[in-house]
Symmetry: C2
Subunit: 476 residues, 2 copies
């Protein structure tokens, strides 16, 4: 483990000189607020919160941190689910919130250049106004930052058709841990020029550099969509239906799975929409198709109906108005929050090849029964991405601390045995790092650690993330 120095008044003074006094915060309220995200109930406040306005200011901060061996943790919108922004070694909490400008919406090249502190939905709305479409659609889009999406390689409901964040990132400006500023690539759709530093940066959870400018590919907007909610009497059949839909040649723009409790709890939490949740219904699929030709969408919806009707389903609900569509999406997006309001929980972000979803779901329930915990499962079934919310409920603290992690280990082992992995879109951050050896051999982890050392030889940038606690730093 690295030994860091603590902040001195002298360093605080230098920080104030870089970003001005008004953007250096030492008060407990601010530090606490910037010491937590949406991950469980964890709080790790930084010793100081700074809010720079430019890559140049960040560069100066990193040079200072390098000189004095002070840990720096980049902070986005604090909506993360793996604790990637928690200042576990205190030091400087570096908020990107003031770098919130959309710099250029390029309607000629179908690209947008943006700073990292822009809220994802604000970006989506701004490009939509010009007839363009940024499809990556995390559930937290109303509050998360696009920079955080880069850090975690965020997905969301539309990833099944449109891909995840990494599929839209063309080029990045990055401040390296030593304060140097680089561009990782070019503003082009194709690039075979040297190693792919852009893709190395995406999903690296703020451990390799601080992204200060982002060039994203855009699409033209779609004019139409059809949204339907299909209730299944058997949750495994719902999971099976997912891959059957792709087999008939349809790529839905969203294919979401929600087990009964996910909907039930959310209906109690939000008044989004009235759904008659019949006895015996175990799960729902929320299915959307989109495009520019309404006839095609109706034909696709019909084909989807033919598939789901092969299973035991109840009456399918078609959203007929924009209002109904928004309500259905609100229902889906509120699941996590509804569960959280109900009980303490741990959220796992398992992902498997799509067809293995029923096997994963079955295993999750069996392992839960073995260790005595209940789980609420939902997520992006079209991608094989199942969110497993493990509920504290009536468990004792001891069971929560000791038994549940054993169960999670078994769930991850099963996930990896199915050729899947630990996280589809939330990242490893703090809370999943000790499970990394389930997904990667020691050799692979060592390669990653050595890459980390290439970028950050002093280990000052976002320390304590991704790599297991007991990870030995023997060279590969």
């Amino acid at each position: 483990m690295k030994t860091y120095r603590t902040l001195t008044n002298d360093i605080i003074e230098q920080l104030k000189q870089i970003v001005s006094e008004s953007f250096v915060f030492l008060d407990e309220e601010t530090r606490t607020a910037y010491g937590k995200d949406h991950t469980e109930d964890l709080v790790f406040p930084p010793a100081v919160v700074v809010k720079p306005k430019s890559a140049q200011e960040i560069s100066q901060i990193m040079k200072l941190a390098n000189e004095y061996l002070i840990p720096v943790t980049p902070i986005g919108a604090r909506t993360g689910l793996s604790g990637g922004m928690l200042s576990v070694y205190q030091g400087i909490g570096l908020s990107l919130e003031r770098m919130n400008e959309i710099l250029n919406i390029d309607t000629d090249n179908l690209q947008v250049i943006t700073q990292p502190g822009v809220i994802t939905q604000v970006l989506q709305d701004a490009v939509l106004e010009k007839g363009l479409f940024y499809p990556v659609d995390p559930s937290s889009k109303g509050s998360c930052f696009i920079g955080g999406n880069i850090a975690e390689n965020s997905g969301g409901a539309r990833a099944v058709k449109y891909g995840v964040t990494k599929d839209y990132v063309l080029n990045l400006e990055v401040v390296l841990p030593n304060g140097e500023i680089i561009e990782t690539g070019a503003n082009t759709l194709k690039n075979s020029t040297g190693y792919n530093l852009t893709q190395l940066m995406v999903g690296s959870e703020g451990t390799l550099g601080i992204v200060t400018k982002i060039v994203l590919k855009l699409l033209s907007k779609n004019d139409f969509n059809v949204l339907m909610l299909v209730p299944f009497y058997d949750m495994n059949e719902a999971a099976k239906a997912v891959s059957e839909i792709f087999k008939v040649g349809i790529v839905p723009s969203a294919l979401e799975f929600m087990e009964r409790d996910a909907i039930d709890w959310t209906l109690k939490f939000t008044d989004a929409i009235e759904i008659g949740l019949k006895d015996g219904i175990q799960a729902h699929l929320l299915i959307e198709v989109d495009g520019n030709y309404q006839d095609v969408l109706f034909a696709q919806a019909e084909k989807i109906m033919e598939v789901v009707e092969q299973f035991r389903i109840d009456e399918v609900f078609y959203a007929e108005t924009e209002e109904q569509k928004n309500a259905l999406w609100k229902l889906r997006r509120n699941v996590a929050e509804a569960v959280k309001s109900h009980t303490i929980y741990k959220e796992e972000d398992t992902v498997v090849p799509r067809y293995e979803l029923p096997a994963l779901l079955k295993a999750v329930k069996e392992i839960g029964a073995k260790y005595g915990f209940k789980s609420i499962c939902y997520g992006h079934a079209g991608d094989g991405n199942l969110h497993v919310n493990i509920i504290k409920g009536d468990l004792t603290d001891e069971q929560w601390q000791n038994d549940v992690p054993k169960g999670i280990t078994e769930i991850f082992e099963k996930t990896v045995a199915l050729k899947g992995t630990l996280s589809g879109e939330h990242g490893i951050g703090l809370v999943q790092k000790n499970y990394m050896p389930i997904a990667f051999s020691d050799i692979s982890l060592q390669l990653m650690k050595n890459i980390k050392n290439v970028f950050d030889s002093k280990g000052i940038l976002n320390p304590g993330k991704i790599f297991p606690d007991n990870f030995s730093e023997n060279s590969y």
Copy 2:
């Protein structure tokens, strides 16, 4: 520069024990044949050619090479255009041609697992038989290997709609330079678990590891396409029309640019098709749309017509039969070979944001005029990817050696100024490496070099590629 040892009889004997005597070749004919690809007229034979059959055999070879400090150059189908497989330091030429099995076509998950030595078109045909579609379509697909496509991050005509190789690679089995075998990721559509080693490997041109197993995402096949050839009286207008097509919301499955000479020379080279090439036509766009709904394709074709008719064009040729479609594609795919049969040339693989294509084209012609060379330009205009074939023609050897590289430098400087880069799909390999400082700062190159050192501290795997000759190895 590293100093390598030469092969001894003892090492040759050990190689024979690993792959058996029949797959170790020391004769000049074989060594010469495995010492060239499609890059100019360059020949760099390895001291020995070995043809292993498995990751285990490759692992043993790498352990041996590590022990004795022997350079190893991975060799695919030898169709590369940047000299990535040339054994510039002799040593072991490691051919992947015997690892040519498609291991599993997974119709449940829409994935294929394959060895690297499978010809891309063989793979495409095999999955198509099961109703599936691998869209990445390099012009050399009839002879190149899928492993080589991974190494160079190959593109091709359909990249404009479907993306390049990197967009289909889910997971890789890789033999590292020290002989260890790893998997880079998981067989999932999404992955936010640690650094993206998969994407680091794609496009690394066989310098970080030897790919021995590949998991690719597949799509469902499309039933229909429409293909048209549009002759333009002004080549800059053809280039401009490209981004106009995207602006009306259409994403063609191919949008290829060919200037007059490209077609003219190819018509003389192949009897693929009869095209009345009228006086005054300066360039053609070859445009394809594909999908499952023929009515939609006709509507899109009509919209495309509305766009191109705003420019000075001659009569548009619609391919009505499969035969005509194949003939048009044959014409396009044969351009490079036709030019090559005509004269010695250097092929550049410039790529810019799509809208900058006219500016790039204009600059290429002006720089050619300045340095006295002729160029034939064609390529994947929808991606902003312009292949510039610089023709030796009547140039003296001295002009070819001295003036042309100056012109290429200026072309690349212009490309980068337009926010583009050196290579869209051919890679850097041997012939472009000295231009790398145009695209990357010293800091970025140093990061890449240090990543190379993480994987290959002895520098034995595919040495002499990507990094400039005079690149100093000061640590970042």
